[in-house]
Symmetry: C3
Subunit: 172 residues, 3 copies
């Protein structure tokens, strides 16, 4: 097996490890209901969007949620805390392995960004203890490694289902 | 901690990274409905089988799907495309961490094959947006690293459930 | 990016790989119904507890299951085998990526323990083939690396749901 392939493989495995760790922290933040910490996973000029596979495949512009900077995410958390008239719920993200789709070398000699696609599902637990499959889909992420910690410069959450009536309640 | 253990650990971690990346690509191919690319994840003389835990534990020979070379997988995709009278569905594989059960050193001085067992589940989204747990089980894989990319020389899909009436529609 | 950060990153990625591999083996043991091997995943003086998020957040002392050494886990398996009047069931753990919360350097110069938090879900398959989401939650683990294999010195299983009537049947 040629050395070049080995080098590519190590490069990819390192990138996978970085993205995996970031997504684990991201999911844990939401699952712990620590929403005030959620915007800090994004860069100041980030783009964040929740859309559906149907809309995403057709390039339809209207997502369920759209923010084009971090301040909008902070506003959203404030609004969620004020408006939260729903019964208490708990979420559990299960995140699959990221596939590196762009960039990929992190470190002193490396790229400053990685693009990745990562499948996920979310289980919801209601106050009475009942559980259901709340959502599944894929994260399309662009991650910026130039700051003091990795942050999402762009995150598109593509949901498998078009049924989204209750989805607006929490970040995904 | 003795050095030998450290070496074994690094060997295993490297193998896990390889298998994890391959399975992520494999699952993404199916979830994107790119079935025409699916046979290229297998070697020309591969074995592919879908069976149930009940049958597998008893060594019963009849699997739900059985192919003993890649051409049969290609035929299957053609048949699926022609016969697809079902309503549109979307699948989302969530793949757990592989356990390396044989082989394991990849690289210029390494083995050319890895055996691994990996749990998975598949969420199905119907056209009307309803979602259910479609399948869960374990992949028993033998992966060939001698070619220009890793490929499955053998893949046995062992399903947890014996209820398989609608499972024949897609690869798993 | 400073070298220190790179070193920390490699340290963390190594720890994640170790914990990931241990949890994959642990889950596979339970899913294969090899419960007699389950206690050997723990140290002789381990603590093991199953509790709920509600109780855990309030520091309520009564967990669903509590053991303060490995012998109690062995007793539990014996009791389970004798008392098993339930219909056959099959479980499938899907384990997310561990987040390292303490310790983290494994090897000849490293720490002897790692603390980690890891989300999980469990799918249950009944004898008639029906499947449901059995449980979801997070493992809070303290892992001892001083022995001949990594073992849990402490494992707290925090379930998302308070509905636990049938949960006592199997280890989680």
């Amino acid at each position: 097996m040629p050395d070049a392939t080995t080098a590519e493989r190590e490069r990819r495995n390192g990138a996978v490890a970085e993205v995996t760790a970031l997504l684990a922290d991201y999911a844990a933040c939401i699952d712990a209901d620590a929403l005030e910490e959620w915007p800090d996973f994004f860069t100041a000029d980030c783009h964040y969007k929740i859309t559906t596979a149907y809309n995403h495949a057709r390039g339809l512009p209207v997502g369920l949620i759209y923010a084009h900077n971090r301040a909008m995410l902070e506003d959203r958390v404030v609004a969620l805390r004020k408006a939260n008239v729903y019964e208490p719920q708990r979420y559990r993200h299960i995140v699959s392995t990221p596939r590196i789709t762009g960039g990929g070398l992190v470190g002193s000699a490396g790229d400053e960004a990685i693009e990745a696609e990562t499948g996920f599902l979310v289980v919801r637990t209601m106050h009475d203890g009942t559980q259901d499959l709340f959502a599944s889909g894929v994260y399309l992420d662009r991650i910026d490694f130039s700051g003091n910690r990795p942050r999402f410069a762009g995150k598109i959450v593509v949901l498998d289902s078009d049924r989204v009536d209750t989805l607006l309640a929490i970040p995904l």
